[in-house]
Structure formats: structure tokens, C-alpha cells
Amino acid sequence: MSKISLRSVTKSYGDHVVLSGINLDITQGSVVSLIGPSGSGKSTMLRCINLLEPIDDGEILLDGVDISAPGFDANPVRRRVGMVFQNFNLFPHKNVMSNIILSPTLTLGVPKEEAQQKALALLERFGLADKADSYPDQLSGGQQQRVAIVRALAIEPEVLLLDEITSSLDPELVGEVLDVVRELKTSGMTLILATHEMGFARESSDVVCVLDGGQLIEQGPPSQVLSNPTTERAQQFLDRIIRAGRL
């Protein structure tokens, strides 16, 4: 059974259709990259899976359960499906440690000391052990994004959604964040990432999906999708990427 399935997922903002009949099955432990032009619906798709935005029609299944049903309690779902954002969205008034333990202590009822120990272990794993007492604005973009990933991991989610997590980083900082994602892949976590890093998508993903105008126009293993796309629109998108020197 798929970990996450999207069945004819449709979403509009007024007259503007952002997602149109998306069908996608994501197996446990796989890494799925969503690529496509800006405004193609990648971020919206992730926000819908995290139930931050309701879908209009269709279903989103987590382990076979329809979590997108109107009125379904979103909070327990979000503890199983974590999300990391393009602009980190760390809480600026809390230091790194407090950012990380906020949700475990509040939503999972983990005792503070235990949460801190787990947080320290995670920080250590991603080379941030000395940053526990720092505030977000004292960190580089790459460090902030790694902290944001640790914060999402602290609730031990089964799936992690990564929304263009390297897009607002200076080029030399992208690598350290991608290393974290590689590490997560080896740990067997299910990852869904919206990304513009084509090289990374090719190297790390099991499945690449191309979105365009709210439609999922192509999906398959990276070797096939990125080298021999079957649709013309996917080919055009990839041509533009190649011309920009990004593939």
C-alpha cells in the first residue's frame, strides 16, 4: 500500500485552478521530487498534503485513510507529516532549542528534559550542537534551514515535505542543506520535495514529477523523466532549465 496517495486532487483560488486532477502514489521510504515552472502548483500540493490548505475535490490518503475529508482533524496528521518551508519560518523570539522542543512538549507531551536530550542528539547529527542557545537571526541561512529541518524531525514524522528548502539560500550554502536531505534518505524516511535543484533531483529521487499549470504532466524515475520526457511541455520546461545551465 502507498504511504501517501493523491486521487484526482483539485484546488482553485477563485477562478484560478492551481491543482487539476492530480493522481500520485508515493511508496513508503521513497524520495519524490516535484519540479516545474514557478506557479505550477508544487508548493500548493505540499501545503495541501500538510492540510494547511483544504482541497476542493479528490482525496489525499495517508496509509489508506482519507485525511482530506472535510472536518478531519488536521493536528494528528501534521504530527505524522512534517513540513519545512522555503523561508525557514523559525520562531524569531525563541532560541534554537526552544524552537525544536516547542511541538514535542506541547503536542506530544514529551517531558522537557527528554525533549531537550532528543533535540541535542538531532542537532549533533546535523552538525549544529553548538547552536542550541543561538537565536535564529544569529545563524546563517543554511544553518537556519538545517535547524528548521531538525525542528520538523523532532516530532518524529513518518513523511517530510520539503518546500523549495534551498531556494532562498546563497549558492555556497545549498550543499550543507542537501547533505541533510541525503542523510534523511538513507534513514528511510519518506520525502516529498518541491525543488529547482535538478542535479539533486536526478541524483537522489526515486520518482520525479513534472507539474505544469496545475497538472501532473509527467512522472517516473529521474533517468527517464529528466532525459527522455514523453510530453512536449515537460521537454520545453527541461530545455529552459538546460539553457539556464541548471541541469
Binding site: 501545503r47 500538510n50 494547511l52 488536521a74 493536528n75 494528528p76 501534521r78 504530527r79 512534517g82 513540513m83 518551508f85 523561508n87 519560518n89 523559525l90 520562531f91 524569531p92 523570539h93 516547542l102 511541538s103 506541547l106 503536542t107 528548521a148 525542528r151 520538523a152 516530532i155
Partner: protein, 278 residues
């Protein structure tokens, strides 16, 4: 090259010296003009005798300082009440739950009505109106209800300040908190409010400075606080000096408060907007 300074620093230093000199010279001119000209006004002698009488000043000062303690007391209990009430109103207005719809409407109506009528009128209406219901002592004291009127009106102003603060916290902060599984109340309590409150402290202090002065309005319905005591002294000695004494006492509190507020605003500005352009 320990003793040399950069060209920029040298220029800034000359410029600073020059501006200090100009400021000092112009201040000197203004002060001299006041000192020389005001006493030449035809009625200066009378004004000095009735507003700046040294003997009256020394006589009234301790009595007014005593009366001022009542103002301070009202201020001290009103401030926390205002902050708590205003926060509740602001959160009610910001709530998105349909179950809280009546509370939302009530808080909108409350702020509209309280802000739409002069404070002084509320003090009369509530301060005289409620004790008129025939309450027992001590609840029939206009002092209590006059300050309740202050608390209610100020809460509506301060609630708007809090609301602006809450709305200034970017939606992405809520998204991050919700994505971590926090409920909307937990998001408000642990993520939105702490940031909102920090941002509105300077405008909040501004309102507190106004409150500190408006406390004197309660005198209009009876309690003998500083303004009323000054009126009594004025009438007794047919001399306006007690009003000047009251003004001096108010300033001794409001000036430090105002300076602190400006300092906080400046600090917040530096923290959020980076380098000032020339």
C-alpha cells in the same frame, strides 16, 4: 597606524563640532530672547505673582504630592486591568472560530462605542450612573466607577494596538506552527502573541503616558486627587501657583516615561530596519 583616522571619520568629526556650535548658539539666542522679552510684557508682574509664587509653591507642594498618590494608585490598578482586557478583546477579534462569532461581534461593537465617545463623558456616565443603581458601600464610590470608565475606554484603544501587533506577525509563522501540529490556540499563545506584544510595547507605552494624565479626569466626579486638590488650593489662596505645581509633578512622571518610550521605539527601529540612510 593607531593615531590616524579615516577621511570619513575626520569629516564626520568636523561636521559634528560645527553642528554642536550652531545648536548651542541658537539655543542661547532663544533663551536670551525669552528671558529678556517675557518680563517686558505689560502684565508680567501679575502673572508671576499668581502663577509662580514661591511661597504658594512651597506650601502646596507637599499637599499636592500627597493627593497625587491617589492618581498613582488608580494608574497602578488600571494599567494591568487595561492590558488584560485589551488582550482578550484583541484575541476575540482575531478569532477565526465560528463558535466565537458573538464574542467577535461584541468586541467590535465595544471598541467602536468606547472609542467613539470622549473619555470624560464615559467617566460621567459610568461614574455617576452605576453608583446611582443603589449599590452598597464601598461599591457606590464614584472613584471606583470613574476608574472603571477609564479602564474600559483605554482597553478599547489598547485592544486596537494589540490587534495591529497580532496582524503584523506574518502568516508564515502560523503556517510553521500549525505544520508542527500546534492547535490554533497554542499557535496564538506560543508563537503569535509573544512576537506581537514585543512589537507593540512602544505604542503601548504611549497610551500609558496618556492614561497617566487622564487619571486626573476622575477628579471631575469627586475624588480628591491632585487636580482637584490644586483647584481647592487655588480657590483658597486666589492663586494659580498650585496648578503649576501639579504640572511639575505630572511632568516628573510623564517625561521619564516618554523618554523611555522614544528610546524603545528607536531600539525597535534599529533592530528592524537596519542602517539609516542619509
Amino acid at each position: 597606524m593607531a593615531n590616524t583616522i579615516s577621511r570619513r571619520a575626520a569629516y564626520e568629526r568636523t561636521r559634528k563640532r560645527k553642528s554642536i556650535a550652531v545648536a548651542a548658539a541658537s539655543s542661547l539666542v532663544v533663551v536670551t530672547a525669552i528671558v529678556l522679552l517675557v518680563p517686558r510684557m505689560p502684565r508680567w508682574d501679575r502673572v508671576r505673582a499668581s502663577f509662580f509664587n514661591g511661597e504658594r509653591f512651597r506650601d502646596s507642594f507637599p499637599r499636592l504630592l500627597d493627593a497625587f498618590i491617589l492618581d498613582v494608585k488608580i494608574f497602578l490598578w488600571a494599567t494591568p486591568s487595561i492590558v488584560v482586557l485589551a488582550l482578550l478583546i484583541a484575541m476575540a477579534r482575531n478569532s477565526r472560530s465560528p463558535a466565537l462569532f458573538p464574542i467577535r461581534v461584541f468586541s467590535i461593537a465595544f471598541t467602536d462605542i468606547m472609542r467613539g465617545v470622549p473619555v470624560i463623558l464615559w467617566i460621567y456616565l459610568i461614574g455617576f450612573g452605576v453608583p446611582g443603581l443603589g449599590l452598597d458601600r464601598p461599591w457606590n464610590n464614584p472613584l471606583i466607577w470613574g476608574s472603571v470608565a477609564l479602564v474600559l475606554t483605554y482597553s478599547s484603544y489598547v485592544a486596537e494596538v494589540f490587534r495591529a501587533g497580532i496582524e503584523s506577525v506574518h502568516e508564515s509563522q502560523r503556517a510553521a506552527a500549525r505544520s508542527l501540529g500546534l492547535s490554533s490556540w497554542q499557535t496564538m499563545r506560543h508563537v503569535v502573541l509573544p512576537q506581537a506584544i514585543r512589537r507593540v510595547i512602544p505604542p503601548l507605552m504611549n497610551d500609558m503616558v496618556s492614561l497617566q494624565k487622564d487619571v486626573a479626569l476622575v477628579s471631575l466626579i469627586g475624588p480628591i486627587e491632585i487636580l482637584r486638590q490644586a483647584g481647592i488650593d487655588k480657590a483658597k489662596f486666589a492663586n494659580f501657583t498650585p496648578y503649576v505645581v501639579a504640572a511639575v509633578i505630572f511632568l516628573s512622571i510623564t517625561i521619564p516615561l516618554t523618554r523611555t518610550t522614544d528610546w524603545l521605539i528607536e531600539r525597535e527601529r534599529k533592530r528592524t530596519t537596519g542602517t539609516r540612510v542619509r
